[in-house]
């Protein structure tokens, strides 16, 4: 069984982790096109490359980010999400045209 290094708990069996999908930037849901939204929701890259993914260490409920090569399945590094997400995210009000 594969092992992964959790930034909080150290090297653990992969069975302790839950995959949370790729880290993706959400387009503005209130202004993007339908296509851009569908791309965000339904499509993932499937090439041989390094992907940045969410992983959860289930016993401690800790989410972190891992960079993994999809060809070798090697996990190159793992780190706390605050490295990528360090400021409060706000959402703009929806466009109200046609909703009068």
């Amino acid at each position: 069984m594969k092992m992964m290094n959790c930034p909080l708990n150290g090297l653990r069996n992969i069975s302790e982790f839950v995959h949370g999908g790729e880290v993706k930037e959400m387009p503005d849901p209130n202004s993007c096109s339908d296509d851009a939204w569908a791309e965000y929701v339904f499509y993932t890259e499937n090439g041989i490359s390094v992907v940045t993914e969410w992983w959860l260490h289930a016993p401690s409920g800790y989410w972190f980010i891992a960079e993994r090569h999809t060809g070798s399945d090697e996990i190159l590094k793992t780190y706390d999400p605050s490295v990528l997400f360090n400021k409060r995210v706000e959402f703009s009000a929806p466009v109200t045209e046609g909703m009068a």
Binding site: L8, N9, G10, N13, S15, E16, A58, P59, S60, Y62
Partner: protein
């Protein structure tokens, strides 16, 4: 307390009950009052037992988290570990478990079962209801790494998991927090698990201990 008094204490007398009290009762255990509940004092003669499993679920514990948690505990006079996944004893006998950069749990002193405060005393922290969400078991004695290796994929031998270390991991396929108690002679693992799964894990641990002659015990095993 006299023996006559002891035998009259039954867990159902109290509003607060351990999720495991029926197992203790069925095994003929003796109880004493602790934190307004019945704590097992004795499971019969365990003087020759190399490894014991003790239910500390009714002992007091609380958790706090948030950006102020570590500082608040320190200000209250508790010792706080330097790094996550470590535990230290405070001078009042309470053990502080640091589970992350912003979360600590405090276990009441083992003999009295009491804590000097509660999470409600820390107004600028978020409470964690570990008294109810988790059962608290103590595995004490010899062969602990071998016993745990039958249930858990983390190396808990002395060199990899010294006194004061914590492992948040999977034990017998449920999540658990294993703490190697510091400052105490012998090897003692406190195992905190989902209180709803306490009966399940109790059975798994007794089964794993059987090979080494381990048995359930009461607090008198320690004192």
């Amino acid at each position: 307390m006299s023996d006559v008094m002891k035998s009259t204490i039954t867990p159902e007398t109290y509003l607060v009950r351990s999720p495991l009290y029926r197992l203790h009762k069925a095994a003929g255990a003796h109880f004493d009052e602790c934190s307004s509940a019945a704590q097992v004092t004795s499971y019969g003669d365990r003087s020759a037992v190399s490894t014991a499993l003790i239910d500390l679920s009714v002992n007091h514990r609380f958790g706090v988290r948030g950006p102020n948690a570590l500082a608040a505990l320190a200000a209250a006079g508790l010792s706080v570990p330097d790094k996550p996944n470590q535990c230290v004893n405070s001078s009042n006998g309470e053990t502080v478990l640091r589970l992350s950069n912003t979360e600590c749990w405090v276990l009441g002193a083992m003999e009295s079962g009491a804590c000097s405060a509660d999470s409600s005393a820390f107004a600028d922290c978020y409470p964690v209801y570990c008294q109810d969400s988790h059962a608290c078991l103590l595995l004490s004695g010899e062969h602990l790494p071998d016993i745990m290796a039958k249930l858990c994929g983390v190396d808990l031998s002395e060199h990899a998991f010294p006194k004061g270390a914590i492992a948040q991991t999977s034990v017998a396929r449920i999540n658990a927090i294993i703490s190697h108690l510091p400052d105490r002679e012998g090897t003692h693992f406190v195992i905190l698990c989902d209180s709803a799964a306490a009966e399940y894990l109790w059975g798994c641990l007794l089964d794993a201990m059987g090979e080494f002659g381990g048995q359930a015990a009461g607090l008198d095993y320690l004192f």
